[in-house]
């Protein structure tokens, strides 16, 4: 049984038996790992308040080869993200980011996406009220790219011809990105993206410093595009629950605004 020491973020936790808790951790060196925190619910001595959602720190766990559930020895938190609970839009966006990682990341060493996740959660945690949705979208697309699923935005995903940036184009989920006019006509299906929506997507996927402005209607349309894209690449058929609640503003105090389904 090897002792693993790694940077980690708590993505999900649920109670296990009487006093323990199972955590799903995003780790810098070992991808997503499940660990059992024995006695975590009964005593604060071993893990203190470190086992809260989105807390970041150094985890030590005993890993057994061939096992899916390891035993957590300690978790020294260096950053708790309480700010994510101070705004429901932030909370919903962070949960969607966690779901994205839980569903797409594997247990291989992926330091790139770990850092992208840290940046995304931090950006959402400090986002102004009303800007958390855009911060979440930016973080999610960057994670998609870091996890190896970046959509093709500058060249046709089917024939690989260069795409003029200023024109609308059709986004095909099965093809994995934008299509040129000819391939778009042949495909017949897909979301039509205006030049502004393409620019926003390129800025997020390319991790550009300048964030594109986003009105609520466009933000929801982008969320729908992202959700459809993720669904296309998931094969298990399970719903993206956190994503759907984020997209539907189900945690917002008021009802979702009209026009939420408008295309970008």
């Amino acid at each position: 049984m090897a002792l693993v020491v790694t940077d980690a973020i708590v993505l999900h936790s649920f109670d296990y038996l009487e006093s323990s808790r199972v955590l799903r951790l995003a780790t810098r060196e070992h991808g997503v790992q499940s660990v059992l925190a024995k006695g975590a619910r009964r005593s604060q001595k071993r893990f203190s308040g470190a086992l809260d959602l989105f807390a970041e720190g150094q985890a030590q766990f005993y890993a057994r080869a061939g096992r899916d559930l390891h035993t957590l020895a300690s978790f020294d938190v260096n950053r708790a993200r309480f700010a994510l609970a101070a705004d429901l839009e932030r909370f919903a966006a962070a949960a969607a980011l966690a779901e994205l990682v839980l569903r797409f990341a594997r247990d291989e060493s992926e330091p790139t996406w770990y850092d992208t996740l840290v940046d995304a959660l931090d950006a959402v945690a400090v986002a102004d009220p009303g800007a958390a949705r855009a911060a979440g979208l930016a973080g999610a697309w960057r994670l998609v790219a870091a996890l190896g699923f970046a959509p093709s935005l500058d060249a046709c995903a089917s024939c690989h011809d260069a795409l003029p940036a200023e024109r609308p184009a059709r986004f095909s989920h099965p093809a994995g990105g934008l299509l040129c006019e000819r391939c778009g006509r042949l495909a017949g299906v897909g979301r039509a993206l205006l030049a502004e929506a393409r620019a926003a997507l390129r800025a997020w996927v390319g991790a550009e410093d300048e964030e594109p402005p986003l009105d609520p209607q466009s933000a929801r349309a982008h969320q729908r595009l992202l959700r459809e894209f993720l669904r296309e690449h998931l094969t298990d058929g399970r719903p993206l629950r956190a994503f759907e609640s984020w997209e539907g503003s189900r945690l917002a105090a008021g009802p979702a605004s009209p026009g939420a389904d408008a295309a970008p």
Partner: protein
């Protein structure tokens, strides 16, 4: 499946009981007199048939309304909202609270698919709208999900119940604890929630 396997299988579904312990309990029961097993079976049947959520606060009870809601000496102007019925026992043991309760039935958790409509928030709002309530204490757990749940309930109440104070239980250092041994997260929370003396 044999009767032994059947019972051991059911017992092993209980928290803290693994397959081996379940078998040990099964063999223990087999060594007892048959009346003992019957009493246990009766108690389980009675539990399932009689215990239900209180019609008012969703605490567990055998009556239409729980003992807290029936108690006329309780302060009916204060409602303490908790995640689970088991949290009520922890607050009652302090002997410091004389108001009523409301069991939300969990906490918001988008990853687990727990959304506002899965909780009893609408019933809490209906109680507050009744007019008698002057304060709602949000006593959800001091976790990120508990805080988000409290925030959601506060937002819902703020637009629906004018003049009702919505408060949140404090969090910070434990009584009798030692600052030197407290973790950074707890100290940070205690500092941010400091109060004037």
């Amino acid at each position: 499946m044999s009767a032994i396997d059947d019972l051991a299988g059911e017992l092993s579904k209980l928290p803290g009981i693994g397959r081996k312990t379940a078998l040990r309990l099964t063999y223990f029961l087999l060594k007892q007199r048959p009346e003992q097993s019957r009493r246990l079976a009766d108690a389980l049947t009675t539990l399932a048939e009689r215990v239900r959520p209180c019609a008012e606060c969703f605490n567990l009870t055998e009556e239409e309304r729980c003992s807290v809601c029936r108690d006329q000496r309780r302060d009916r102007g204060v409602i303490c909202a908790v995640e689970e019925a088991s949290d009520i026992g922890a607050i009652e043991r302090t002997g410091e609270y004389r108001g009523l309760y409301h069991v939300l039935g969990g906490r918001l958790s988008p990853l687990d698919g727990v959304m506002p409509e899965d909780l009893t928030i609408d019933r809490l709002i209906a109680r507050v709208r009744g007019g008698e309530v002057r304060e709602v204490i949000l006593a959800t757990n001091p976790s990120l999900e508990g805080e988000a749940t409290a925030l959601y309930v506060q937002r819902q109440l703020s637009g629906q119940a004018d003049g009702v104070a919505v408060t949140r239980i404090a969090r910070g250092l434990p009584v009798g604890g030692d600052l030197e041994y407290a973790d950074g997260v707890t100290i940070a929370q205690a500092l941010s929630a400091r109060r004037e003396m």
